[in-house]
């Protein structure tokens, strides 16, 4: 129990650390923006991973920390990204027993859906708050690129975290199928 709990916390810390790094990289490094003409965000894919592998507490923590870190260097009203992120995580977490979460195709589909919903829900909130961002045809490309990269990044995140988990946890002890009471005694006693 204590071991599982420690591993869950480690997983949460990894998720939050990656959210911090992702939020930082979106600002100063214009590499993706210059190359693709679109800004790539890792948060929706990270939220899909968190909601499929962790509890609702980690989902809420990621939504709050990731949303605040994303909004703070932006002109967005502070906190506007929290709710879209949390709703993505909440819905996936709610229905996760019905999802084939270990299948890369399912991860990819969920990542794409999250990448598509996140900017739309943020815009919906912004317009309801009376903010008027300027959108054009280029934004449609931005949205499409966000959706596609969400789909690509989600299975990659699963692989990355799987490797991290294996690097930090003890290898599972192999159970032997040998049972003394079921041993067939051969020969003369």
């Amino acid at each position: 129990m204590g071991y599982d709990c420690a591993m869950n916390w480690l997983n949460t810390i990894f998720i939050l650390a990656l959210a911090y790094a992702a939020a930082f990289l979106e600002g100063p490094f214009a590499f993706c923006r210059n190359l693709l003409g679109a800004q790539i965000t890792l948060l929706p894919a990270l939220m899909v991973y968190a909601s499929l592998t962790s509890g609702i507490g980690t989902v809420a923590l990621l939504a709050v920390c990731g949303g605040l870190l994303r909004d703070s260097p932006s002109e967005n009203p502070l906190g506007v990204s929290i709710l879209p992120l949390f709703l993505i995580g909440f819905i996936i977490s709610w229905k996760r027993d019905l999802l084939l979460r270990e299948h890369p195709f399912a991860q990819m589909a969920l990542g794409m859906a999250a990448g598509a919903v996140f900017p739309l829900a943020t815009l919906f909130l912004l317009f309801n708050l009376g903010q008027g961002p300027v959108l054009g045809w280029m934004w449609l490309w931005q949205w499409l690129a966000g959706t596609l990269t969400g789909g690509v990044l989600t299975p990659l995140l699963f692989m990355l975290f799987d490797r991290l988990r294996r690097a930090f946890e003890y290898p599972a002890m192999k159970q032997s199928s040998f049972r003394e009471d079921r041993e067939i005694k051969r020969g003369r006693q």
Binding site: F24, G27, S74, E75, L78, I82, L135, M138, W139
Partner: protein, 274 residues
């Protein structure tokens, strides 16, 4: 399946968002500065890595190339020194004439503070950048004009200790009063359509025209008007590209191509007004 923990978390998150969104703008700005301060160690790391990478290339520069560049810089320096002397003489003469005429100084003097752009807004629907000049620099405050060598770039909207946020031209929150062409017609520069903004163009609206022969034409220069107290008069903004709408032969709107390339900002100057 939803359980009690899910419902409690949902309510808590919604409450937190409601509180954050209803914060007064000043408190929200301070909170934003404090949270974005968490990135400072990484920003420092990125800057020093960049510097180290630049220094690593220093020994590879050829001596011939350096000597040639040095000679060009010397020539430029002499020419600029000569120009500076001429400007100083003109300024002295101007001051003397003002004294003779008993004129009040019309424009306050201002200084330029150099700054480097280190981050852009992660959302593509806004137009703002972060610069590495903050309240530690003397005179740095909000509502100061930010320039490039080509012309106006934007204004400072929030100031931290070592960094500030600058809203650029084309952001929906920034409007600038401008004068257009030799007839000095006034209008307001606004964000305009997104398609135009992607091509570094903005719209001027509410152009005040007296008659069809005193209207704007493609190629006319656009400069700041100086009304409003943020942007001093006479800062170049751009040139008129076309005049899409005319009422009774008089232009009421115009499209402007900005002088500064706002998509590739690296170094800017903050106009410090005492």
């Amino acid at each position: 399946m939803l359980n009690k923990q899910h419902y409690i978390t949902l309510v808590l998150v919604v409450l937190l968002v409601a509180v954050l969104l209803s914060l007064p703008s000043r408190t929200a700005d301070r909170l934003k500065l404090a949270i974005s301060g968490l990135f400072l160690p990484l920003i420092g790391l990125a800057a020093s890595t960049h510097e180290a990478a630049a220094k690593a290339g220093d020994p590879l520069a050829s001596r011939v190339e350096l000597l040639r560049e040095n000679a060009i810089l010397r020539t430029n320096n002499q020419w600029l020194t000569f120009q500076l002397q001429q400007a100083a003489n003109a300024l002295r003469e101007n001051e003397q004439l003002r004294l003779l005429l008993n004129f009040r100084r019309q424009k306050p003097s201002w200084n330029l503070l150099p700054a480097r752009v280190f981050a852009r807004d992660p959302e593509t629907w806004w137009r703002s950048v972060w610069i590495d000049a903050g309240s530690r620099a003397p005179g740095m405050r909000t509502n100061l004009a930010v320039l490039t060598a080509e012309g106006l770039a934007g204004k400072v909207v929030s100031v931290g200790e070592t960094r500030s946020r600058v809203v650029l031209l084309g952001d929906p929150s920034l409007r600038v009063a401008v004068l257009v062409g030799p007839n000095r017609l006034n209008g307001t520069l606004r964000a305009g359509s997104a398609g135009a903004r992607e091509n570094n163009m903005l719209d001027i609206e509410n152009l005040f025209n007296e008659s069809a022969d005193r209207t704007v034409h493609p190629g006319d220069e656009v400069v700041t008007w100086g009304e409003g107290g943020v942007f001093p008069a006479g800062i170049p903004v751009g040139r008129v590209v076309d005049v899409p709408q005319k009422d009774y032969g008089v232009a009421t709107e115009a499209r402007v191509r900005l002088s500064a390339n706002l998509d590739a900002l690296e170094n800017v100057w903050v106009m410090i007004v005492p």
